[in-house]
Symmetry: C2
Subunit: 218 residues, 2 copies
Amino acid sequence: MDFQDYFPVWKKLTPAQQERMLGRLTSRKVNKGTDIHGDTLNCTGLLLVKTGQLRAYILSDEGREITIYRLFERDMCLFSASCMMSSIQFEVCVQAEKDTEFWVIPADTYKSIMEESAPLANYTNELMASRFSDVMWLIEQIMWKSLDKRVAAFLLEEAAIEGKPEIKVTHETIANHLGSHREVITRMLRYFQSEGMVKLSRGMVTILDEKRLRDLQK
Amino acid sequence: MDFQDYFPVWKKLTPAQQERMLGRLTSRKVNKGTDIHGDTLNCTGLLLVKTGQLRAYILSDEGREITIYRLFERDMCLFSASCMMSSIQFEVCVQAEKDTEFWVIPADTYKSIMEESAPLANYTNELMASRFSDVMWLIEQIMWKSLDKRVAAFLLEEAAIEGKPEIKVTHETIANHLGSHREVITRMLRYFQSEGMVKLSRGMVTILDEKRLRDLQK
């Protein structure tokens, strides 16, 4: 499978636009844990995931993190190319959560094609709207949901992504996803364990009672 | 001044597109406090503000509110036309904060022009990126800033909008902007008053010490 099969509106680009994009494209392979895009203002470019998993997060001055969305196979990251639009006045960090293969489209190449291509500009709109929806969901979670519900939702989502109830994750990592502190997460997980909903072991959380974790959401 | 002078990429539309847009346009005049767009899934259309001030907010199941952005003269509201893009999976409410005059562009009209017009699609991208930046700022505020800083920031912003230190606002309204409770806001404002930063009177907060409110942000 080539880039052409992964890029969503490929067939709606003109041959000249396709050639321009292919000519500037690079592909990268990184190991789990690699920082792909930092929160300084350099412009890595648009990332299109071939295999693996990325997470986009923001960072506070004190080094606290919160995950804002995740990218899986065929997903594209726009905000790693924030220099592309003057109205993008924030910066995200992107990190590989698994060994990941992806393509990088330079921001200026993408921008120049988007300016003349209504299909690419409309696709970009849908992409941004979709991330916007993720972020609005996140605001609702932060504002109206208590932390027990958010931790339960995180564990259920992880188990769904991995397809099994054993989740390899540290308490520190969960805290970084949810914008919380390790100590707070540890306390919550111990409560879940005492209630028989999960089992804790070194670097691992195992879901024992999925139904009760789901019931917490209500 | 006509719609043509307010609509940002008017001159980049074709005469046929301009005619289509003008033919479907309506204009409205509402009083302060009017609900313009609800959180049910009906699609009011895109709103372009001529004069006045609107606020967009989200609503929790329990009826708590939080303001996500504001719209002033020449600003356009996209998310009151959420049916326009399938990826917009959230709903905002829009309310007039002052007596407001605005145009409504039906979502299907805007969408059909955007699909063929790269300039309009690119403008829409910038617009969404700009709102996205507002919302990312909001997440940072909610996550990393304590409520005293957020109340101070709100008062300073209101004073800047009105161009004077007397802010006509109830504690309930401040709570609705910040996603908090009236009692909590009242307690905070009384603390500010005891510190000499503000003076409270019926339906009014007067800023006495702008510098100290600003220092709170640091």
